[in-house]
Symmetry: C2
Subunit: 353 residues, 2 copies
């Protein structure tokens, strides 16, 4: 009945995710004095006092971000909250509250939702976070979770994506590619199981990568360590869609380039093990750059903080910030410069689809 007369129809897949967001949000400018940090960052920072409120969100859609064949509901509840909290952690803030909304189909029982909330409860206990909101609605198909995480940070410590300066050091927490490696194992076992329902999946020796995919943790430990050591990063972002996407995002928002040294990218043995399982065509560094779902922090610090940062066993210095015209590149051990490319969306999504 609504007649849509639209001469031009552009497929949403034809723009990358980042380009599409940029197009949709073009011209929106912040006017309120309580808006401290907004569009282009992992979360919003708002408020009028010295301590700012930081608000971040995460949405998880069944069939896109998770597959109920192999996702324990407790882990799913935990993970949805962890992803939202990771977005405020990436602003150098610590979580205080979460609000959870679910769209749920009648396929799910009350007991299934009990399980989901057991995971949310476990997260809240572990990270001293209060559940302050819960809403439910129906869904035509499957389960969608939307989590809003609220945290706080001193204004002087809040870190957005846009402050990296030339010669800053580029640092990363944890390791990269392991969550995607976990997803590959789960998808492989699922495919085998479909062919033979008597099949018993074999997850031995893959515990680490499976946990990385199914139950990620927000890096509040890094935020606390940085505060304890009096370091304020110049820029920071959550690595959600691969290291390449995160590095390019920091560079774009900070109007700079970066050089990442391939041999400095932290890759767990478990990830390499999965790659060798899958054959020679799969390189661990490709998973690290493009895998997604790592839920780690990528951030830049001033060179003057080098001595402090090198003492932290949980942070790796993987490169440095350069002039914008150099672009975002990775330097191989053979000294070849490779231009980083963003997949624009998480390959994990594609894989689950």
């Amino acid at each position: 009945m609504t007649v849509q007369e639209n001469p031009k129809i552009t497929d949403i897949g034809s723009l990358g995710k980042n380009a599409l967001i940029q197009r949709l949000t073009e011209g929106f400018t912040a006017k309120n004095k309580s808006t401290v940090i907004g569009l282009g960052n992992d979360a919003s920072a708002v408020g009028q006092g010295k301590t700012k409120t930081v608000v971040g969100t995460a949405m998880m859609v069944e069939g896109i971000h998770f597959d109920m064949t192999y996702t324990p509901l407790q882990h799913l509840g935990y993970k949805a909250v962890a992803l939202a909290v990771s977005n405020i952690v990436a602003m150098n803030a610590l979580p205080r509250q979460i609000m959870v909304s679910l769209a749920v189909s009648s396929r799910y029982s009350v007991e299934a939702l009990d399980e989901l909330f057991a995971g949310i409860r476990r997260f809240c206990q572990r990270y001293d976070t209060d559940l302050t909101g819960c809403d439910l609605c129906s869904s035509v198909a499957g389960l969608t979770l939307s989590v809003t995480a609220i945290g706080e940070a001193d204004k002087a410590r809040i870190t957005g994506c846009g402050g990296a300066k030339v010669h800053d050091l580029l640092c990363a927490s944890g390791d990269f590619g392991s969550a995607y490696a976990g997803l590959l194992i789960l998808e492989r076992e699922k495919a085998t199981y479909k062919g033979n329902p008597q099949f018993q999946p074999d997850f031995s020796s893959h515990e680490y990568v499976l946990e990385r995919f199914l139950k990620p943790e927000p890096r509040t430990d890094i935020v606390k360590w940085l505060a304890d050591n009096d370091i304020v990063p110049t820029s920071m972002t959550n690595v959600a869609d691969g290291l390449a996407d995160a590095a390019m995002h920091l560079c774009q928002e900070s109007h700079c380039g970066c050089e990442i040294y391939e041999e400095r990218i932290p890759i767990d043995y478990g990830t390499s093990h999965v790659c060798s399982d899958f054959g020679t065509n799969m390189l661990p560094v490709s998973l690290a750059l493009n895998g997604g779902m790592d839920n780690e922090l990528l951030f830049s610090i001033s060179q003057s903080d080098y001595e402090k940062i090198k003492a932290c066993p949980n942070i790796a210095i993987i490169g440095h910030i350069t002039e914008q015209n150099r672009g975002a590149i990775m330097v191989t051990p053979q000294n070849t410069a490779i231009q980083l490319k963003s997949q624009g969306r998480s390959p994990a999504e594609t894989a689950v689809q």
Copy 2:
């Protein structure tokens, strides 16, 4: 592969929405001193200073909350934001920022999303609200919108659901049942159109109820009027799932009862007109009590504010607060007391399904 051994399977439809939320959130207690108002309210109030940050959310799922056959995308964007903002307005706060997340299937074009964001832009301009976050992901089917609204209010003015006292006056903004009346018209015309695609829908004389459903407005005017007149309600909630559900919710959270006078419930002529169109079985008061989607405020004030409130043309005094053991009742013009019943979920959802 994940073996779910669950001896008891309870259908989620067997508990009402409110009872299910209560079950899932049982035992969650707030521990952070920055948590001011949490579970059981329309939004969260957080922060350490005198001015608190208020955070509310809303989720809209295609096929449940909206039907693309008759929903203009601009209106949809506007409405999704209006619903989230209404939840913070119901805490007696004013909106400052919004964050939007979309899960979108490939059926939607870039131009369709442009339309959606034109509606969001219009809302932001009208309500001086900054868009501070935007995220996109894929969806298996249809469109899901999740909006987080952020606002602020002085700690002394923030109003939750739990403060109503016996003898307080029960007040309401706007009118009730009209949004649901609008939905009935849209569904009727859709059904006729399906039977005869040459059919031209007739919306004449129903403009008001259609606008109430398709493009609701948050009642920031009421929040401002209350502040200008130095009135702090003792309790307040957003009427999202019908007046009965809202009244029962206030009573439950405030441990009180209420009496609503049927002839005092504001019902627009347009709503009555729809009811007479649909036949004698449909009573305007039923739509007001159970219709849902009205997006109006229900609140209680101290009797000492009576003189001030009766001067406001946009607020109706519809009843008063009683002892808890009286329950939540409606008194008819014939002086019959009818116990209010909550549908537990929006009938609008059921109708769209």
